[in-house]
Amino acid sequence: MNIHEYQAKEFFRNAGLDVPEGKACFSVDEATATAEQYGMPVMVKAQVLTGGRGKAGGVKFCDSMDKVKESAEAILGMDIKGHTVNKVLVTPAVDIEEEYYVGMLVDRASRRVLLMASSEGGVEIEQVAKDNPDAIIKQVIDPRYGLLDHEAMTVSMKLTADVKKARQLAASMQKLYTAFIEVDASLAEINPFIFTPDGIGKAIDAKVNIDDNAMFRHRDFEELRDLQEENPAEAAARKADLSFVKLDGNVGCLVNGAGLAMATMDLVQYYGGMPANFLDIGGSSNPDKVVSALEIILQDENVEVILFNIFGGITRCDDVAKGIIEATNRLDIKVPVVVRLTGTNEEEARVLLQGTDLVPAETMDEVVQKALELASN
């Protein structure tokens, strides 16, 4: 789960990081009132769950109340990469002398949390990784001991020769790690971590992704979820406990298993079509779940055909077929539905499908090809 800068900053504050105060404002009036309270200069920053806010004009330095009003008016309602800005963070502007990047993520190769830091602050780390990979200092963190003092200090002294600044950087890295573990993050970044001209280190931008698998430990984080930003179909899928991603094509796909679902999408494209979605309905034969999945897909007006691609494995295909039949009966489906079922009792399943409007298919290639034929009709 992605969260907003202002939410991430709250986590960082709780972990003891020096983060300038700030307030998420939902209107121009709220933004100007907040700016008034802080005094000039302030930053007005779009709060959207996507990068590139600066380039899109969503981050403004304001040295007058007129500028605050003008910036808030411009940014609220702005579209950034398909995200509508409905709140801005108003925060005191800080004099910046130096900028650093400090971030952590779960590293697949080492199976550890990896600290990455760079003196190229304010730049996306992926960009630094491409342009100047040597500028990124890395430190693998042993979960048994956490980020040790000397590890943090050694990384920091590679970033700056100023030992006072290095100590602040090192302490901030350790606090970031505390926050990372505390909130079950999969990614946590301070970008940039800055020093003011009088040598005070501060975290002036913040990014945190939460591990969805760990949400059961953080029921209160559900409040952090920005429902306004969520695609309604993806929100519905989440509530129905389905893995779903909206795409731009016309072939609705219901598949069991994420890998098979991706391979099915790829096969749709291979045969010249375009998938309307990624959707993993899991291994169950529960008709309620199939109903939810179908409802989500049918909300998409582009969908001209629906395909089921189920490799049941041990699951009994006749059970799954009954679930699909019941689900399709419960809904008023105007587009053709093609069903491929493989696994235990697949013959019995095909018999069950015979009495219905559902179009049977034997293989993965066949279900995709049939779907595409039906879509183009």
């Binding site: 779960v106 550890r112 996306e124 990784a129 979960p143 391979a263 990624f278 041990i314 493989t342 290639d365």
Partner: protein, 292 residues
């Protein structure tokens, strides 16, 4: 021969009295797996399926039955704890089927396993099957056949699809292994490939990858340097949009890396053909592997 275990390996099941655990334990027993014990706290002394003794904890189960491997079917919040318990009791092969385990729980468990030389498969995986010998996990036994092809996959049902195609084409398997799609897993793509490379019976290898991470790229490099047997691959997720998690927590293109195209290019550069469709794995392998 195969990788990880034989038909003689003594297996215990953690969470044997749960719905999924019970169902799949029966299926494992039916396949011929030597399931010697189950573990559910508070159920010690009971029998599962009238044949398998249930214990309160893994240490007791190991002491009583000599179990060597464990298959874990417990809820996500208890999965890391179950892995710790198995490893602490001396189990050297653990297959964790559980889906939805927090990544940081797995990060925490890893050094414990490394210190003890434990092989973990998963979590969030279908486990593996040694055709004709044993299965530790949830792969359907009816689609595999004994043979000489090793298969490793980051996926579940997509694995079945490819295995099914191989079997129907007469290409039996030494071991079919699904390592799972989470970011932090025990046996990595590379670990599996090395295990197959060390297995004299495995004469060809099928890799089923997907978007996210760089496991396939690193595997390509390793295979180029170290392996002589035929290897073919399939990569799922060519049409996946960047920045979206495709079901598996690990299946995500971030910062422009981890794409299917990159992986395909890396594999092909290492001389490993990449199939366009799952079914194309069979002809590609047959072409490369004239003895089959």
């Amino acid at each position: 021969m195969a990788i990880f275990c034989t038909g003689e390996t003594k297996v215990l099941v953690q969470g044997i009295t749960g719905r999924d655990g019970g169902f799949h334990t029966k299926s494992m027993i039916d396949y011929g797996t030597k399931v010697v014990a189950g573990v559910t706290p508070g159920r010690g002394g009971q029998m599962f399926n009238e044949t398998v003794p249930v214990f309160d904890n893994v240490a007791d189960a190991v002491a009583e039955t000599g179990a060597e491997a464990s298959v874990i079917f417990v809820p996500p919040f208890a999965a890391a704890g179950a892995i710790f318990e198995a490893a602490d009791a001396g189990i050297k092969l653990i297959v964790c089927i559980t889906e939805g385990v927090p990544t940081n729980d797995m990060v925490k468990v890893m050094p414990f396993l490394e210190d003890r030389g434990v092989t973990l498969v998963g979590p969030n995986c279908p486990g593996f099957i040694v055709p004709g010998q044993a299965k530790l996990g949830i792969l359907p036994g009816n689609i595999v056949a004994e043979g000489k092809v090793g298969l490793v996959s980051r996926s579940g049902t997509l694995t079945y699809e490819v295995v099914d195609a191989l079997t129907k084409a007469g290409l039996g398997q030494t071991t079919c292994l699904g390592i799972g799609g989470d970011p932090v897993i025990g046996t990595s793509f590379m670990d599996a490939i090395k295990a197959f490379n060390a297995d004299p019976e495995t004469k060809a290898l099928v890799l089923i990858g997907e978007i996210g991470g760089d496991a396939e790229e690193r595997a390509a490099e390793y295979i180029k340097e170290n392996m002589d047997i035929p290897v073919v691959a399939f990569i799922a997720g060519r049409t996946a949009p960047p920045g979206k998690r495709m079901g598996h927590a690990g299946a995500i293109v971030t910062g422009g890396t981890g794409t299917a195209a990159e992986k395909k290019a890396a594999l092909e550069a290492a001389g490993i053909p990449v199939a366009d469709r799952p079914v194309d794995v069979v002809p590609l392998l047959k072409e490369l592997w004239k003895d089959a």
